[in-house]
């Protein structure tokens, strides 16, 4: 979010120098004055959102007292958002022709604008894998597509995000990243019936459309002129939707009527521009600078660990350096920790190596930059150690359990984990952010679908 606002601010100030008409000036000054206010106001939220990589509009809109503020923000949006956007992006104007594209889809084929020439109405939706808002709209988009496809309506989804510009701590609401392969996984699990295209490599299409966030919908008439752009509807929670903006636009177009509201603000997650790749490198450097420790632990410690003293969702992985599948899955588990720790995931790696091998185990952990809590059995009687943790735990390594704050086991796997299944189980059990009502249900359902 921050870069987008900053760019907007910069653009507006630059414009103001050249402005002669007072109307433009007013617009600029609202932008100039309201922007610091917006930044100031949402300061606490921004810092919270930074890790989440998400624009937390839903939260801002909550509560009656916030309505005025919302109305004003909306006004500010209307005045500013038609201006230049991030990374030289221009938000497409109503009436403008549909920009061309030629992009690879999850079906392995290249899809072009011309392919949909016969469609009476074409919707281009910018959505992505990692954004919780985008995820919560997946079912609604599917339904939209199904409700209208017999009437000449075609829906094409485009993922604008660059996969290398997504920090691990921005993947805290997702099982997969933003690559085309990741998109294939999402499309398969959620049974997307519409094309899901990848623009992350060059981001040449997203700059032509200029979406504010993911999701953001652009609806074109038969002449492929833009007739509606903005949000799909007005609430991230399906049951609370009052204004079906996208459907209203489609209904109007089908009836040959003018679209009632042609432009609305969209809210969701910021576009992950490839210029952000440096932030990813920065994150890796931070991770590599984190201290790595290893403690020898006895039966009592393991007993306590099983009860989950962390107050958080806790993943415990039993492993050994002599175990091939263990060292093979180790980096994925560390990444999983880096993804979700800012949402309150705790992780303890328990080495079953003989205590005399502690130097080798520590060396391995250091090479992995394993900033998880790392312990090692303090006795070579590994069976007694396992018994202290849980009588029913598996005997072979690797062994993985995820324990809820109250001590309940919500996931267990003997042998190497299927990393996406593990991540879905974690997402289904992390505390739900109030910005994304339904998120836990989404991931519970997703975990079933595997």
């Amino acid at each position: 979010m921050t870069p987008r606002w900053k760019t907007k601010f910069g653009a507006s100030t630059a414009n103001s120098v050249a402005l002669k008409i007072s109307r433009r000036f007013l617009r600029t000054s609202i932008a100039a004055f309201s922007l610091p206010a917006v930044i100031f106001l949402s300061n606490g939220r921004l810092s919270r959102c930074r890790g989440e990589g998400v624009i937390s509009r839903a939260r801002l809109l909550r509560g009656r007292s916030l309505r005025i503020w919302a109305a004003l923000l909306f006004l500010a949006y209307l005045t500013i958002c038609s201006e230049t956007l991030g990374d030289g992006t221009h938000r497409l104007a109503i009436g403008a022709p549909a920009p061309d594209f030629s992009l690879p889809g999850v079906d392995g084929k290249i899809h072009k604008l011309s392919e949909y020439a016969k469609a009476k109405i074409l919707a281009v939706v910018f959505e992505c894998d990692s954004c919780p808002v985008s995820q919560l709209y997946e079912t609604r988009l599917e339904k939209l597509y199904h409700d209208y496809r017999d009437k000449g309506f075609v829906l094409v989804a485009i993922n604008p995000n660059n996969p290398n510009s997504l920090r691990l701590d921005e993947e805290n609401h997702t099982d997969v990243g933003e690559s085309l392969d990741d998109m294939k996984v999402r499309a398969a699990v959620q049974h997307f019936d519409y094309p899901y295209l990848y623009d992350g490599d060059k981001q040449a299409v997203v700059v032509k459309y200029g979406p504010i966030a993911t999701p953001h919908i652009f609806i074109f008439d038969q002449g492929r002129k833009l007739q509606y752009e903005g949000r799909i509807d007005d609430n991230v929670q399906d049951s609370l939707v009052k204004s079906q903006d996208a459907r209203n636009a489609i209904d109007a177009l089908l009836a040959g009527q003018p679209v009632p509201v042609a432009t609305t603000p969209s809210s969701g997650c910021s576009i992950k521009w490839m210029s952000k790749a440096a932030a990813v490198k920065e994150e890796m450097a931070e991770i590599e600078a984190e201290p790595v420790s290893l403690t020898l632990s006895g039966a009592d410690d393991l007993k306590k660990l099983r009860a989950n003293p962390t107050g958080k969702l806790l993943l415990v992985n039993f492993w050994a350096t002599w175990c091939g599948p263990c060292v093979s899955e180790f980096p994925d588990l560390q990444d999983t920790y880096r993804m979700y720790r800012n949402r309150g995931l705790a992780m303890v790696m328990v080495s079953e190596n003989d205590p005399v091998t502690k130097p080798s185990v520590l060396e391995f952990l250091q090479r992995q930059h394993a900033s998880t809590t790392n312990i090692q059995f303090n006795s070579s009687d590994a069976a007694a150690m396992q018994e202290a943790f849980d009588h029913n735990m598996g005997a072979a390594v690797p062994y993985t359990v995820v324990i809820a704050p109250n001590g309940d086991v919500v996931y267990q796997e003997e042998g190497d984990v299927t990393i996406l299944a593990l991540r879905r189980a974690i997402l289904a059990n992390l505390p739900e952010s109030k910005d994304y009502p339904g998120e836990r249900a989404y991931w519970s359902a997703s975990a079933q679908k595997r």
Partner: protein
């Protein structure tokens, strides 16, 4: 809201109003949110614990539970390393039947091999039969899981292990269907099941309480056998079996995908100078090493060099076997494997083509001059060109293996294993350096 956009005053007024309204809204919302935050966090926790709290604990291996004490011995009919099929009824005469799930690849298994031999030797004259079953499916086992082994998990490989290590007990193969392992609920290799004369299960679990023989305190297996032979109750009926997981056939797609991923890497061929050859001989190549799946820049390695040429038919037909050895250790042990083509540089396109066809994704070198003699001189060894020639160099630069003609890959692997360090599994080094 209708505004006349004609004067600066309006603009200023409006922005001030905007700022004030926002500030007010913010103050209100802060207070409200704090309240909400508290109640919602609590509500969140309540909701979470409610929805997840069916009092769920760890479930003991839900997929294949362990055979309970007192249960009858499940029947089996499995091929053995002796080429015959073995049935439960074949052991009807035994006073005590010991069924042991074991494997070729597991270092825990290897640590126990000598103890199994001792049990078999000590008790076979007393009417005790030991039957070992390998339940691993070779397709369900990643090649890198063979990091401590000279052999994969096939029946043929079991034959080699049994004869090399002089197994004096039947060693049966259940990897095809894994039905017997499922019936027993075998949890790991090793996992021992001891039946009385009526073939009721009397003990199940580990052989003893420590992988290191010198630190063993409780001898579960021999205590159980002694008790049964004396007609006494077994003192400890269950212990936790420890070791390597069973390689289930259901894992096969994942194994294939992993192999395809490795083999999809580009195949490279570099030209080697006389200087490069000298570095190879000194085992100071500076080539990237993967150790425990990590890049290691300062690891000392065991270096295997496969000298080959397109004119050497045996080299070509045996090429894939050699690659397999590479795959076994390349990402997990300090090991580098180099294919060095002695073909003339003008044939490098054909050399590369062969390497690509055989998905040789590791280090591939070729002499950069047709003067092969000068390279032999630089390497300090002479061999008949266009014949298979294999050299392995230890961590200190000493030649630990040298062979002209057909290379026995299993022998080569045993020598490599005997030269890897012992940092992660105490006893491995001793095992591979022991004479069977």
């Amino acid at each position: 809201m209708k505004l006349k956009f004609s004067s600066l005053a309006y603009a200023a007024l409006f922005t001030m109003f905007l700022a004030a309204a926002i500030a007010l809204a913010w103050l209100q919302s802060q207070a409200q949110e704090q309240e909400q935050n508290q109640s919602q966090t609590q509500a969140g926790i309540d909701r979470m614990t409610r929805s997840e709290s069916s009092g769920r604990g760890i479930v003991q291996d839900p997929k294949h539970p362990i055979l309970p004490i007192g249960a009858s011995a499940p029947d089996f009919n499995l091929p053995g390393v002796d080429g015959k099929n073995h049935k439960l009824s074949d052991y009807a005469d035994a006073k005590v039947l010991v069924v042991l799930f074991e494997s070729n690849h597991c270092p825990v298994m290897q640590a126990y091999e000598e103890r199994i031999k001792q049990i078999n030797d000590a008790y076979k004259s007393k009417g005790v039969a030991v039957v070992a079953i390998n339940a691993n499916n070779p397709q369900g086992c990643e090649i890198y899981e063979l990091m401590y082994s000279d052999l994969p998990e096939t029946l043929d490989a079991m034959k080699i292990r049994a004869s090399y290590r002089k197994f004096d007990w039947p060693y049966l193969y259940d990897g095809e269907t894994q039905e017997v392992a499922l019936k027993f609920g075998a949890q790991s290799t090793p996992h021992m099941f001891i039946f009385d004369q009526a073939r009721k299960l009397r003990y199940e679990g580990a052989i003893d309480d420590n992988m290191a023989p010198s630190r063993v305190k409780a001898h579960y297996a021999t205590d159980a056998i002694d008790a049964l032979l004396a007609g006494q109750p077994v003192p400890v009926e269950h212990s936790r079996s420890l070791g390597c997981s069973t390689k289930w056939i259901t894992n096969a797609p994942k194994v294939q995908a992993e192999l395809a991923k490795v083999q999809s890497k580009p195949v490279k061929l570099d030209m080697a100078s006389v200087e490069d050859i000298k570095k190879l001989r000194a085992n100071s190549t500076g080539l990237p090493v993967h150790f425990l799946m990590l890049q290691c820049t300062d690891c000392r390695v065991v270096l295997a060099i496969n000298f080959w040429s397109l004119k050497c038919k045996e080299c070509l037909s045996d090429f894939d076997n050699r690659e397999y050895t590479d795959y076994m250790y390349r990402t997990t042990r300090p090991f580098i494997y180099v294919n060095l083509s002695t073909d003339s540089p003008r044939d490098s396109a054909a050399v590369l083509k062969f390497l690509q066809d055989h998905k040789s994704v590791d280090t591939n070198l070729q002499f950069n001059s047709p003067d092969a003699r000068s390279f032999q001189e630089a390497f300090g060894l002479k061999w008949k060109l266009n014949q298979p020639f294999m050299v392995m160099i230890g961590q200190d630069g000493q030649i630990i293996y040298q062979k002209e003609g057909k290379v026995d890959q299993v022998e080569l692997r045993r020598i490599a294993l005997a030269h890897f360090p012992d940092d992660n599994f105490p006893g491995q080094f001793a095992y591979w350096n022991s004479k069977p």
